[in-house]
Homo-oligomer: 185 residues x 2
Amino acid sequence: MPSKRKGNKRDAILDAMLDVVVERGFHEAPMSLIAERSGASTGVIYHHFASKEEIIQAVYERTRLLKTEEFLKGYSPEMDARDAFLHVWANCYEFYRKHPREMRFMEQYALAGFPCVSDPKAAENQFFRRFQSRAKGGVLKDWPQEILQEMTLGLVARLAQSPRKWKPATLREVAEQTWESVKAD
Amino acid sequence: MPSKRKGNKRDAILDAMLDVVVERGFHEAPMSLIAERSGASTGVIYHHFASKEEIIQAVYERTRLLKTEEFLKGYSPEMDARDAFLHVWANCYEFYRKHPREMRFMEQYALAGFPCVSDPKAAENQFFRRFQSRAKGGVLKDWPQEILQEMTLGLVARLAQSPRKWKPATLREVAEQTWESVKAD
DNA sequence: AAAAACAGAACGAACGTTCGGTTTGTCCTG
DNA sequence: CAGGACAAACCGAACGTTCGTTCTGTTTTT
């Protein structure tokens, strides 16, 4: 049971919801279990949150913010295009590797039909504005952004999700080959 | 309410479960709604299936079989490597386009922690045996199969999932570029 | 006439939520 | 610095609802 600062159990409740949803799915995530895992009583849970759904939304929002921050860490628009691409690729892989539970939660959240009030791909979009297609003065192939995104960061997400750990050399090769695939000729 | 042959409601129940799960998630998929949507009473549902979970497993298995069949339609191991690749790529895209609900169900099923008794990627694996990496006498880059799979059929799955409909010319270009990315130099 | 398919009311269990009361923290006043 | 007052944090039993499942009986098929 992860205890947090100041005797406040709000974060512990969010952590518990994240864990339980990832382990067992939104079905089979009863409040009684959230209470047990977080070390909070059902009473205090409803002191912090109005409903179960509000907890889930809060986990979503907290994770979305964390992702946006870590994605763009150490990136600046002045970087050379290829370097910037490989840098964010690595950031992205690192994030998903370090936060596999958060990643699974986000995917399940979107798939299960919860309302995504704020764009879950905000981080990706922000980055891709740097690399607009050549027709718009960018350096990438003249394909729709969504396709380019799936070929690059979408691929990273799924590679990081795998239980296998890839050799750094292989990952580097994949990243470089990907860059070759999407950059304008 | 899709009615089926022979007055048998088994299929209608599976269809209803598929629809409801995709629309609302495994949570919020009560039997009462399955009964209403399928036009079957709760009594007859439990005549055909032992439990709610068994219905879900049956939907999973039915979809998995359908997918395996359609993936490899018109494919034979004697085809030229590049042609075979592009052919199955197109099959794959078509399948996901024609069966978006089935696709979402399968993803949610795997994510929500249901036991995958039979390999959900059986179709992909069967196809990829044709294209083993060069180190094993194949024609693809010497990367792990899982990576190659994500770069190719995994990408198709994502593209087909998008609400946007891509131009056939663009798709063809993406397919060809993908082949260039994964084939051995 | 026997079996399979079907209907829908009913049941117990489990769920999300509420409620009354207790502890802990904070800050004001003398 | 003591003490009292107010609020926020907290607990867990209890409530009403809804869920998955069962049961008894009816209709349809073979």
